[in-house]
Symmetry: C2
Subunit: 462 residues, 2 copies
Amino acid sequence: MSASALIAVLKGLLDQRGLLTEPADLEPYGHDWRGLFSGRPLCVALPRTVEEVSAVVLACSAAGHAVVPHGGNTGLSGGATPDDSGRQVVLSLSRMAAIRKIDVYGETMEVEAGCILQTAQEAAQAQGLLLPITLAAEGSARIGGILSTNAGGSNVLRYGMARSRVLGLEVVTADGAIVRGLRHLRKDNAGYDWKQWFIGSEGTLGIVTCAVLQLAPMPRHRVTAMLAVPDADAALKVLRAARQAIGDTLNAFELMSGAALELVSRHQQLRLPLAHSPWFVLIEAGSSLPGLRDAAEALLAEVLERGEASDGVVAESERQEAELWALRESITEAESKQGRSVKHDVSVPIPEIPAFLAAADEAVGRAFPGTRINAFGHVGDGNIHYNLIVPDGADGSALNAVVHDLVMVHGGSISAEHGVGQYRVGELLRCKASPEIVLANRVKRALDPAGLFNPGKVLPAL
Amino acid sequence: MSASALIAVLKGLLDQRGLLTEPADLEPYGHDWRGLFSGRPLCVALPRTVEEVSAVVLACSAAGHAVVPHGGNTGLSGGATPDDSGRQVVLSLSRMAAIRKIDVYGETMEVEAGCILQTAQEAAQAQGLLLPITLAAEGSARIGGILSTNAGGSNVLRYGMARSRVLGLEVVTADGAIVRGLRHLRKDNAGYDWKQWFIGSEGTLGIVTCAVLQLAPMPRHRVTAMLAVPDADAALKVLRAARQAIGDTLNAFELMSGAALELVSRHQQLRLPLAHSPWFVLIEAGSSLPGLRDAAEALLAEVLERGEASDGVVAESERQEAELWALRESITEAESKQGRSVKHDVSVPIPEIPAFLAAADEAVGRAFPGTRINAFGHVGDGNIHYNLIVPDGADGSALNAVVHDLVMVHGGSISAEHGVGQYRVGELLRCKASPEIVLANRVKRALDPAGLFNPGKVLPAL
């Protein structure tokens, strides 16, 4: 089938607003939001129902055109950007955005793939419940993309990755079948848990159209604190003390280098509440019980006393809480104002963090003089955004290799939360042992034998 | 290859204690612990290393003999019992039982498949950490079986199913490949999360040999209470009140019928701390914060005041806590003393519980007069053990069909936590929609094309 014949078929399947073909309309779907990845879609299909998704998939399959699923386009690895063949059909879930049901007794939400994360968060909150997935892009990211990439964020420490929230899923597979599993069940061992195969597979095995998410009780008491610590070792000691004292209440335990906050104060005009220090940690805890603040203040006194922290502040108001979080959340933007950066989204076992940082600083400094290191991250999860601000002309791939080799030495992952997309396919093949790649290819071939879905993402195109 | 040739090959691969072939030695592996399922193994292989597991798998594959993985043999669905062909090789992981590492900073444990759950729990506790998987069989169940069946238990409400504890996995696949993924990482999105494919697939896709588990902080304050409630609706209102008041501290919220506790008091000589009531709930909560007991007592007063509970008791000592839990944990044994029972391990969405119970009671009473209903379970998870004590000669399959049909009507699962094994294959095929079965078979064929692993479990033999 020719491309124009496919377009005619798709037009027949969808309503008037269901297919974009004009260059101006296609433009936003041809690149990621940072402009690092670009391609050329044949057209953009915007189905409104799972049946329409199935029909689009079948039409593309029959015509031999690949399908690139598209959510909020907030990914950092180019997973939603088509290639430049001009043949790939972008399938946007943005018109399937309903929140179908919130069950207050079961603490569940049934939500379509195109719903924006923040919309879903607010709907849960209106019922006194928490949808505990929090990340910088929550105002644009859509549920389908959140689940397809198994998104992380800053409260994984307490609530787990996006995967752990999923009770039920509906997907369209490469043969056009609609697999319906929108169950509101916390326990379900009736057969293979196939929804796990699609979560985190970045749209390469099927299209997520709807999900049932497990909500959580809303903690009524919250405390947020920032501490200055002399080094990464001390940060780990503070983490251990916090886990022992108030471990089950910890929402987030973030690490920021002094250099990162220096960029924030320079470029974002934000004031630091503490004097300069090589490292800082930001701690948030929440509980249904009122003793949280006392326990947190006792913890702070204890780590100051032992010299694990040199200074600290506990937010006294919601405004102060927001100011502390603004420092953490402005790092990426400040980094982009400083210059070109090469980003790494790595994780290592928590006790390896200090050794990894020392080894990486040393290796980068030696091989790439003039590079400025901007390290921060979710240290309670072992997840470091080890970003490098580099001189013009620096070889990003060579930098990646240096950092990722050390990640492997320390037993880590080259993508903690941002996924592989098209950005890390080469590094994944380089860093993963062959049996893991063999296994992945086997399931890709079983579920998508023709390579219909998102070819070249996560794995090389079939 | 003949069976005797395979035995000779296996003898050569394993040490002196590594292969059982004598009928008396094989006997315990030929049936499940309840004696409901039985078969005849050709032999039992007891490898000590993952390399030996791989060699056994390759030898069996070459000889065309199926492999039945075997852990603590505590399953309730016959998943570890071979068929009666006399050809299947039981592969016991019991000699791979080491706890290799506990990382206190990262709160992780690396443990081999044959380690008994309670041994792993105690090792975590010795480091001040909690391995939050709790179930009746914990003194015999082994980690490999716990993960292969995605075990549940009584603290799923807080900590999730066994799946949610797994950070890393090592498996042997049907081609004998050793897939090594023993990563101590809370965040890892580098490629497909293949460990999810093996967790809960009951040994039909690969052999779990070792795992990295995520531990949790040990809550230092605990409160346990038992309440009498007039009906299942009231139990749900108490659940909702508890979730709102102390939701993030709730470890367990169990429901027991008055009839179930009557059996316990009759057969187990245990005293009830409350007067008779149609239903009871058992609540356990834990926190690092000291205000827990006050909050729990306020909750109790609130639900009594509103008439959602008619009576209640809060345990005043560890002994009283144990006595309350003994009531819950003795139900199964009391049931077996009362007579023959037909068990159901079902889940429904939490708000559906009262309607499901009413409909099932009515349908069972009508179709099978003389049946005694023994309902209890993890109601905070929607998981009801809807067991029926039946007259001799009652048709178990017909009872299953009546109960499971109602489970489907109410949007539930025919196996919440016990899995499919060989027991529920027929019911699974009857109750699941075809696209789910197609998908499951596709992945089974991709990972185990010759049907080497545990044929006839979860799915019909290939």
